[in-house]
Symmetry: C2
Subunit: 278 residues, 2 copies
């Protein structure tokens, strides 16, 4: 939802991760909302974007994006001309002030069964956008089902603060570990497949996110040699043969108010005793 | 992704909230993964589900769901028979052990431009599922882009812990506030629309989630009378004329280790002094 004024939508949505590899996305319009749409599609690293909008109406940000991503964006300085525009498109996003034009485009797309989103006209949309967080392979979407982007942004802030920032890297390293494991123990399904899944789950369940980020290629080889091959899951301490420096840092920062209070209590009591001695 | 063994996917996905109001979803298969798919679609409160699977292969959970939701699920005790099955469907999900059959169904869907997901065969999918959190109108999706459901579950746990549990209700109350405001100041866009959006944003930015959950119908009327009409945003304290009980509870629970340490410090020092006196 792009507008704070959009009406609430009955029923929940199905949140899905749509695949845009080698797909064509048409964006009709060049204003601020169009620039947000371009940003969203660029973030997928996958689709080719076509932008249709008269140059005189382009938002500064839209212009910047078109100029900066010439290999991914094809720009036409004109209005939407008719059904031929959506031919060969896999997804269409309209971001127009003209509600009637948006409605026409949506109807064409629905006939051609092309997924379509019309900014600010929720009843015409096959799907909505939401607040997003991306950290490498990790993607998080927050949807309030049309109950306002401000609340989605508040929840997004809460989530951002709860994440360490290492999650994306940890997920990448786990992906690398799984790939190396599959080289050692190849094949799909069966008993080996089940053992592989179980061992990977144990690693993810017993290692902390911060520990997983330390799995460089050498550590992965060591973990497979000393873990997988011996049918066990070593702890990060066992694998790296060193104390958990990062963790003690965290716990010191959490315990200093407690330590400080202990000292303060001791000092106050000493003062009381000294005062009474006089 | 349903399998821990799924390969990582190149490029990010576009996370979207797909609308399933009055849509038809076909699920082919009746095993455990099929039951998870049924759960996902039921959670949207919106689509009608058709399940195609021989009764002898139904998972207990699948059978339970079919029996419990007869008005939303139509069940046929047979295998997928051919292209006629996908006629009138808006989305198709396969959850079959037979990879070749899944592939055939996906090809039929792609020809008919019907969005399709094939469990465990990422390269055939138009979209993936991810770990989900739902709290009323709030929906959150976590995708690792095929790098394993375990990591998605870890991130989901972190997010769950970071949320107070009041977010869904707060979003609902903000939706109710916006609806009431639009009754007082109707119309789309223009100067009034901008003022309305700005005022709503200020409320969301200055009120805490827990405060927003206290906006019952009477409080909404009061907030509009004392806030919107006077072009200001009263604080929750001003509106409710009482101290923030909930907040002081939280801070007590956070400060007790510090208080405890102070007392412990005092007691230890007293003991030292008493010991030295003897």
């Amino acid at each position: 939802m792009s507008s704070a004024d959009a009406p609430p939508v009955a029923g929940g949505s199905l949140l899905i991760a749509w695949q845009l590899n080698s797909k064509n996305v048409l964006i009709v319009g060049g204003g601020e909302v169009a620039s947000q749409r371009i940003d969203s599609i660029l973030a997928t690293d996958a689709a080719h974007i076509t932008v249709l909008a008269p140059a005189k109406g382009l938002h500064t940000r839209t212009k910047e994006l078109i100029d900066a991503h010439t290999s991914r964006i094809t720009y036409y300085d004109r209005r939407f001309s008719g059904p031929a525009e959506i031919h060969k498109m896999d997804m269409v996003l309209t971001a127009l002030d003209d509600v009637n034009r948006s409605r026409e485009i949506c109807e064409m797309c629905r006939k051609a069964r092309i997924p379509v989103n019309a900014a600010d006209i929720p009843e015409l949309c096959d799907f909505y956008f939401g607040a997003q967080i991306r950290d490498g392979p990790l993607q998080i979407m927050i949807s309030t089902n049309g109950n306002g982007p401000r609340m989605a942004a508040l929840v997004k802030d809460k989530i951002r603060k709860a994440l360490s920032g290492g999650e994306g890297e940890a997920i990448e390293r786990v992906g690398a570990l799984r790939a190396k494991l599959k080289e050692r123990a190849p094949g799909v399904g069966g008993q080996l497949g089940r053992r592989r899944m179980k061992w990977m789950s144990q690693v993810c369940n017993t290692w902390e996110i911060d520990d997983l980020t330390r799995l460089d290629d050498a550590a992965i080889t060591k973990l497979l040699d000393e873990g997988w091959e011996k049918n066990t899951v070593p702890s990060p301490q066992q694998l790296f043969h060193c104390s958990k420096f990062a963790h003690s840092q965290v716990s010191i920062s959490k315990t200093w108010p407690v330590l400080g209070s202990f000292v303060l209590g001791a000092v106050c009591t000493t003062l009381v005793f000294l005062a009474r001695r006089r």
